[in-house]
Amino acid sequence: MNPIDPITDDELILFRYRDGLDAARLADIERELSNSPALRERNAAIERTLARVDAQPVPQADADLGARLWKRLEPRLAQAGVAARRASWSDRLHSLIESMRPQRLAWSAAFALVAAVGIGFYAGRQSAPPPDATANADAMALRVLDAYVAAHLRATEGVLVTASNSGSGALLDGNRELAASLVESNRLYALAAARAGNARLADFLRQLEPVLMSLANQSDGGAVQSSEGLRDYLHATDLLFQVRATEARLDRSGDRRT
């Protein structure tokens, strides 16, 4: 039998855990332990130490720890959940916008038509009538636009509220159709607002477009989850509030112009 390398205490520690030693060295130690009383005593000392560690009192959590942890955790988890859902909504809107790009080309023809009509209207108006008549016509045109956009925003508000609060499939079906019908008019109003020099309103309406498109394309599956996501999105972006505020502002400015 070949003599084996001396066995160190460190190796006895690894032997105790049966980890970090190859099979041959484990076998050497095992054999030596049965042959050598001195090694057995060294090994027993290590075992005693570790047994005493095991005999130490186990750290005990106090009875309130779980409740205390949860109290601090709950708001953080809610916030994390909202952030995740908000991200998923933003992703959906973003991908939808990306997917609509080819169609934008087709719609641009419609925009061009509206623009041509608008330019013709303004050009024709500016050529003949006296200044007072032009001013009255401008005010009238803006009032009409405000009234139409306010009505459009009321319908949009209804769609958003229904989509975020309703779990009814039938109601959501109707809501999808309504959202689809609002997409195009939303775009035309945005264009009209831009033509009338109301960049703020035009920007706001453009901001609504992807939301309406997303609602128009909302699938049946996961409607409840979508509603929750929309609620979070609306809450995070204050979109519903902005819709209502813009609607009220348009109503007021319409009244002033009358």
């Binding site: 205490d9 570790l50 130490q56 942890l69 601090r72 955790l73 859902r85």
Partner: protein
């Protein structure tokens, strides 16, 4: 119990915070033991648990359900405990140079307790606590993970970002310190 955890994990993965609360309740005691052993401080352990549960919730979708949730959670908790210690500047940048056993004992024998000090268990507990507090965080973590958590040297090395040899040395030094506290020099 484990099947039960798997059920709650599946629910929690859908964003169900009540299901996650069940998981918190089921794992609080075990996680607390681990975190206290690693940090040596109940308040720090509680902060570590807070972070561990929060991180677990955020990364729940990454959890592979073929593994055990409690094992995954413990790994996160040990990392969180080490992070808490780092924030409090209690983690050493590197392990001290390896000393040979003889040197170690010659340096520390002066503070080793005599047989009379081991007369009662309360004194033993105080000696163990004193030695545990003298361990570096890495020594204590490596020892806790190997001895109490039953993790392999390979896993511990990965968790503590050490090579296997440094990981072994950390455990050896921890056991030597404990022997000093518990075994009166002969």
């Amino acid at each position: 119990m484990l099947d039960d955890q798997a059920r709650w994990v599946a629910k929690a993965k859908t964003g169900d915070t009540l299901a996650f609360r069940r998981l918190v309740e089921m794992n609080t005691s075990a996680l607390f033991r681990t975190c206290v052993r690693v940090t040596g401080d109940k308040a720090i352990a509680e902060d570590a648990m807070q972070e561990a549960f929060f991180n677990a919730f955020r990364h729940l979708s990454d959890f592979d359900e073929r593994a055990q949730f409690s094992t995954w959670l413990h790994r996160i908790a040990v990392n969180a405990a080490l992070e808490q210690m780092r924030r409090r500047h209690r983690v050493e940048e590197a392990l001290p140079e390896v000393e040979n056993e003889d040197t170690f004992f010659s340096v520390t024998t002066e503070s080793a307790p005599g047989p009379d000090r081991h007369a009662n268990s309360a004194q033993i507990r105080r000696d163990v606590e004193a030695q545990l507090s003298r361990m570096t965080v890495l020594e204590r973590s490596a020892f806790v993970l190997r001895h109490h958590e039953g993790q392999s040297l390979e896993d511990i090395s990965a968790l503590l970002s050490l090579n296997i040899s440094a990981c072994k040395q950390a455990i050896f030094r921890a056991v030597r310190k404990l022997r000093l506290a518990l075994e009166p020099p002969g």
